[in-house]
Each structure stands twice: as structure tokens, then as C-alpha cells.
Symmetry: C2
Subunit: 344 residues, 2 copies
């Protein structure tokens, strides 16, 4: 019985590699130990019918004794395995990433996909991470910000879906469109009597973001003369510093539209330290719709992204690309939505 397992079995400790000096037990080792064939081990381990209770137990005991765990590769090769999604974000510490990831993970679970999460933010090893990820998943989804460009080229054979890659991209992916929500926000601000709005953009002075331009235009279209200021980076700290300057002026603004929620939080902080009441003295709004905006006081008015819808489109694209479709409908758009809360 089980002769072949005898030949290559654990009685041969040299042919190892693992730190423990002992190679992992295979189905053949268990079969040998229990005195049955490998098929019987499969039946026992996978709770399949057609095996006696005694045999099952004997096999299970042998498996436990040998710390046997089926190889996911061996099994996957024959069963096909669950499809796997690789989700790459540029910085998991940015609250945007986990909210996106949460939505994708949920949707993926519903569709029977697993998702591997990778944070590319750590410098240096980006290429290695990508290679390793591509070898493990069926489709890569990237929410990459500035990293996106390089990746479009490197993507190689594994299909790549880009999230919010910007207007220029022709890559399959999901793009965000804040235009309508910005109009709604401008209309709201005008309706409540805003006179001197400021748009706090993120990018460098000479390259105002599309989002910032749209905010300016929407306000101007309603007869206001908004001022445009820039933070050197889209962090709460930078935003707070700029806001602190702006609200110290004689002609104090009565509204600040921030590039995103994180920056809006920085603005709120600056207002508090300046002794200003939000929204009575000044109104503040952000973009993204992060959960964090509901946890602060005052709660943050924002242009929210429907992450669940982004996730829905993402999985649809993943399924299509995974099946080898390279055809139409591979670019989706999700619109922001105005969510009025306390801050504006």
C-alpha cells in the first residue's frame, strides 16, 4: 500500500527547503500514513460522500498528525479556483482607500471573487509588488493617482482596470464626474446667501485641477467672484495653513470649497482655532463623501462618491476583462452627489 509515497515521502528529510527542515505533507503522505489511496484522502478531507465513517476518521487523524493542508495550487489547477482580484492603492492610510476597498471587497465577495490588497505607496518595491501581484490574480484594479501613468504601460498581460485615472485615460476603468454635484453645491451656496466664496485647490498654482476650475466656473456663472487659492499638497495640514491665512483677511470669505474632504477637515480645524463658527461665520464643503465627515463636529457637507456603484462597475469590468472581452463599454462614469450636512 502507498508504495509511491514511501519513495518520496517524509522518510527523506534532506530534500527540504523549509526552515523547519521538513517539507510540507502532501496528500500522498496522508494516504501512506492512513493506509489508503489518495482518492480516499480527498474524500475525507473534502467531506465528500462515498466513504465509511471509520475510514474518514482514520484519514482525518492522519492528516492532523501530519499537519496536512491541501495545496491551493494543486487543487486550483483542477478545480479552476475562485477568480481573484488584485486591488492596488497608492496609500492605505488615506481614508479614501479603505472606503473604496471596503466597497470593492464586499461586491467582490458577492460575485465570488477574492481580493488581494496591495499598498503601492511604499517607494522602491513598486515593480516587485506588481510582478508578484500579476502572478497571483486574474485582474488588477488600480486606484493610483499619479502612479497611474507608469502603470498603464507596465501592465503586461494581466488586465488592468484604472479607477479615477482622469479624463486623459483611454484605459478600461471607472471615472468620476463631479460636474453636476458642483452645480448643485454652487446653487445651494448662492441660495443661502454666500457672497465671498474661496476655492481651495490642491495642485500647484499654474495647473489648477479640473475640479477646481469647475467650482470656479459654477460660482461665476451665478454672479459671484470666487477667489482661487492653492495648497501645496492635498493634506489636512497644508489646507489648514492656507485656510488660516485666508480667513484672517479683512474681507473674510464666507465659504470655502475644498478640493476634498481631508482638506476640508483641515479648513474646519483652522476655523475652530480662529474662533469662527461653522456654518454661521463661514461655510465649508469638501469632496469625496468620506465617512469621517459624519464623525466630526460640525459634520461635513460634501460631494459624495457612491463607492458601491464604483465597486459595481469595477466588478463588471473585471468579469468582462477576465473573460477576455476587450470590446465596448469598458469605460464607466460615476457622478458625485451633493450631501448637505452641518458645515454648509
Amino acid at each position: 500500500m502507498a508504495e509511491s509515497a514511501q519513495l518520496t515521502g517524509p522518510g527523506d528529510p534532506e530534500r527540504s527547503g523549509s526552515p523547519a527542515g521538513r517539507r510540507r505533507a502532501t496528500i500522498l503522505d496522508v494516504a501512506a500514513a492512513a493506509g489508503v489511496s489518495r482518492q480516499t484522502v480527498t474524500r475525507a478531507v473534502n467531506d465528500m460522500p462515498g466513504i465509511s465513517a471509520e475510514t474518514r476518521q482514520r484519514v482525518l487523524e492522519a492528516a492532523t498528525a501530519l499537519a496536512y493542508r491541501p495545496s491551493r495550487f494543486g487543487r486550483g489547477l483542477v478545480t479552476g479556483g475562485d477568480p481573484q482580484l488584485g486591488l492596488v492603492v497608492s496609500d492605505l492610510r488615506n481614508p479614501y482607500s479603505p472606503e473604496l476597498a471596503a466597497a470593492v471587497v464586499r461586491r467582490a465577495a458577492d460575485e465570488g471573487w477574492s481580493v488581494s490588497l496591495v499598498d503601492i505607496g511604499l517607494a522602491g518595491s513598486a515593480d516587485r509588488l506588481l510582478r508578484s501581484l500579476q502572478a497571483q490574480v486574474d485582474v488588477v484594479v488600480g486606484y493610483l493617482g499619479e502612479w497611474a501613468l507608469g502603470w498603464e504601460r507596465r501592465s503586461g498581460a494581466t488586465p488592468l482596470i484604472l479607477l479615477d485615472a482622469g479624463e486623459g485615460s483611454e484605459h478600461p476603468g471607472v471615472n468620476l464626474d463631479p460636474a453636476a454635484a458642483i452645480e448643485d453645491l454652487a446653487a445651494h451656496l448662492v441660495a443661502v446667501g454666500t457672497r465671498r466664496p474661496v476655492v481651495l485647490d490642491a495642485s500647484a498654482p499654474h495647473e489648477t485641477s479640473g475640479r477646481g476650475l469647475a467650482m470656479m466656473a459654477a460660482l461665476e456663472r451665478r454672479g459671484l467672484a470666487p477667489e482661487l487659492v492653492h495648497a501645496s499638497a492635498s493634506t489636512p495640514e497644508h489646507a489648514s495653513a492656507v485656510a488660516a491665512q485666508v480667513i484672517r483677511r479683512a474681507a473674510r470669505p464666507d465659504a470655502i470649497l475644498a478640493f476634498n474632504d481631508l482638506m476640508a477637515l483641515g479648513v474646519l480645524s483652522a476655523c475652530r482655532h480662529a474662533g469662527l463658527h461653522v456654518p454661521d461665520d463661514i461655510r465649508v464643503a469638501g469632496v469625496d463623501g468620506l465617512t469621517i465627515g459624519t464623525l466630526v463636529a460640525p459634520t461635513l457637507t460634501t460631494l459624495a462618491v457612491d463607492f458601491d456603484e464604483v465597486a459595481r462597475h469595477t466588478l463588471e469590468l473585471a468579469v468582462a476583462l477576465g473573460d477576455g472581452d476587450t470590446d465596448a463599454g469598458l469605460q464607466r462614469v460615476v457622478s458625485h452627489r451633493l450631501v448637505l450636512r452641518e458645515s454648509a
Copy 2:
């Protein structure tokens, strides 16, 4: 040339299964299309030496034409593949989860592990998710809260590491110990003149949490007579409601120690709506050390968890269990640390 591929090749559309009606191309299909052997395809696809430039290009073109992507199972079976961690959390929307996940993902990347993320919070499918995850990873890490108990039993063959499973657990894992940090917080509050502290615990009235008990004891030990109140759930909303009642009393508390940061945020919100200034009128502290506490105004004093250290221990345990070690040192402890910010 490539006879065998011809026999089972794509010229046989019936034997399919995929929605597109065409099975995925294998290395043999590419070999046939390029008129070479499968080894040559391997060399071209994997950028290996020992192949002429022309051949490489021809193979690559054939691969592209057939949308060939190597099977991760076929490859993994022979190369072994990267080790894979399955991280299961009870709710990704709770800011604690992503911070933990971020730390684990980073540490894992450093160690060459991939991590698959699963949110068990969605009712019903928990068992299916577990099965599917166990089949895909080498080690499962669970940050499960109340779910932990059931899982210890179900864990089956795949090693399971439990995070913050509580004092009762003898399972391999990383536990958190706030005791020392609670002492530091109590000492600080006394030093700045706190007289009437309130401990805002999460659990039901009849079962005060260990954390809440420790807070009470630490304050009492310093001559104070803290009051203990409970929120029915550890959400900002519930905490806010309870806090609103407490601070309305005649003998208003001058400090509230919340069960965690999220609840502390709710307390901050209640204070703001009541017109109280933090920390001048009342001090507020939480537990966890979430990033969100640095983004609110006032910034939140907290007992912080060093997520990076939790992640470090977790990976060490994962490596040990993955190698089949079942010995000593499989329980680790990480202590909280007092982080003084504006709110206290």
C-alpha cells in the same frame, strides 16, 4: 509542429465553459501558434535567457494574439508561489479595520507575503467566505470581535491567528493590554485638576468591559469617584446620546473617558452641540489611536495601539504557523500608549 496542441486546441470551441464560449489559452496553444515548444514559450513569457530575440518576439506576439495569461495554479504548483495571508475583519467600515489592515499589508509586503482581505460583517455568507478563504491562503488572521468564538472551532486545517481575542483566548494571536496606558491617562487627568470624571463604557450595564473596569480602578486609586455610564453600542451616535445626557446635569463632569476613539468622537460632537469647550470645560479621551483623531478639531487624546507592532507580531506568528510550528511563543501582547493631544 505542435501536434498535441492541435488536438486539444482552440479549434475545438465546444469543450468550453466560459461565457465567451472559448476556453482560456494555455501555454500549449501559444506554442502551437508560434510554432515552438512550450519551454520556449516559458522563456519568452518569463524574460528568461537562452532564447533568440526573434523567437522571443514571435512568441510574445502569439501570446498577445491569444490573450494568453499563465495560470497561477500551474505556475504555483512548481514554483511554490508566494505565501498568502487571509485577513478577516468584522467590519471594514469601522476605521479600526483599515488601519490594522494597512499595517498588516505593509508588513506582509516586506516579508514577501500577499494578503487577501475579507469582510465577514455581511451576515449569512460567513461560512462560505471562510471555506473559500481557507482554500486560498496559507494562514488566516482574524480580527473578529464577537465572531471570534465561533471561529476558533471552525478553523479546520488552515492555521488561524486571532487579534485582540480577549483574555480568555488561548489561541495563537496578538492581544492588547491597555493597563499601563490607562494608568498614565489617569495620572495626567489628576495632574491637570480633573475632579468629576465619567467613564463611558460600551457594553451592557451588567457586564462592564475589562477596559472600563481598569479605567474606573485607575481613577479611584487616585482618590477620585468616577461615574460609570454605558452606551448600548460602541458607535459615535450612541456615545453622543449618552454624553448629551451626562453633560446636561447640574454637577457636570469635567472629563469623559470613552471606550474607544469612535465613541470619543461622539462625545466631542455632543460637547460642541451643548456649547462646551474642549478641553477647557471638559476633557475627552478615547482608545485606539486612530488617525481620524488627528484630523478632528480638537484633536483627540487617546490610548494608541501600535498597529505596526501588532502587524510585526502577526507576521512572525504567520511564518511560524505556516512552517508548522505549534510550539511556544504563539501568544503576543502589545501595550497601548498614552498620546496627549488637544482634547485632554
